[in-house]
């Protein structure tokens, strides 16, 4: 087997979608307050089990990730969002 085949593999970009630039939707759209009473908006930040999504997936900046986390926990306290769920979306 000639050596040439694996060099071809080296410059093959492994994951296409990761190259898509992630942005913080709060800074982009100028949202300054995360309302804990608004479930549709909060659903974007939790996964099917109701867990809060990490920043590396949602791309939000640290400042707004904390606001989202506080809002989600308040919504859970008021039974607007469940603590654990399956197939939430």
């Amino acid at each position: 087997m000639r050596k040439q085949s694996n060099t071809m593999l080296v410059n093959e970009p492994v994951h296409k979608q990761e190259l898509k630039k992630k942005y913080c939707r709060f800074r982009k759209h100028g949202i300054r307050y995360v309302d804990y009473k608004d479930p549709e908006f909060l659903l974007k930040f939790i996964n099917e089990q109701g867990k809060i999504l990490p920043r590396r997936l949602t791309g939000t900046s640290l400042k707004f990730q904390r606001k989202v986390a506080v809002a989600v926990k308040r919504a859970r306290h008021l039974a607007i969002l469940p603590f654990v769920a399956d197939g939430l979306k």
Partner: protein
């Protein structure tokens, strides 16, 4: 001058109550707030909504929201008042910073509504 702050309180009333009992509970807290020197800015009768998980073996609750300005000392006694009343299943009082106040203002004029959710997508 007592330090006055803007707050928002949401409480869930037991759904098994009759109509006027719920009204009476809401009235009781509104009176409690206005008596102790707080001015009510906005009230939102969200009404009966299903809960995400059962509270006290109930699957739905009567939500009521009050936005008010009050001296900071009132909040502690308000919380005690809530816990004393067993018709209230759950409550949450939050302080509003300037962004929250602006947000509530815009929401009342209907600017937020669907538009912001599309915009935030």
């Amino acid at each position: 001058m007592v330090n006055v702050q803007q707050y928002e309180t949401v409480f869930i009333i037991n759904p098994a109550l009759s109509e006027e009992q719920t009204k009476e509970t809401v009235e009781k807290f509104r009176k409690y707030l206005t008596d102790n020197g707080s001015t009510l800015i906005h009230e939102d009768n969200i009404g009966l909504k299903p809960l995400a998980y059962p509270i006290q073996k109930k699957n739905s609750g009567y939500y009521y929201l009050i936005e008010f300005t009050a001296p900071t000392t009132l909040i502690k006694t308000l919380a005690i008042e809530y816990t004393r009343d067993e018709k209230i299943m759950r409550q949450l009082t939050t302080a509003l910073d300037k962004h929250a106040v602006a947000y509530n203002e815009k929401r009342r004029q209907g600017l937020i509504g669907k538009k912001r959710n599309e915009e935030a997508k």
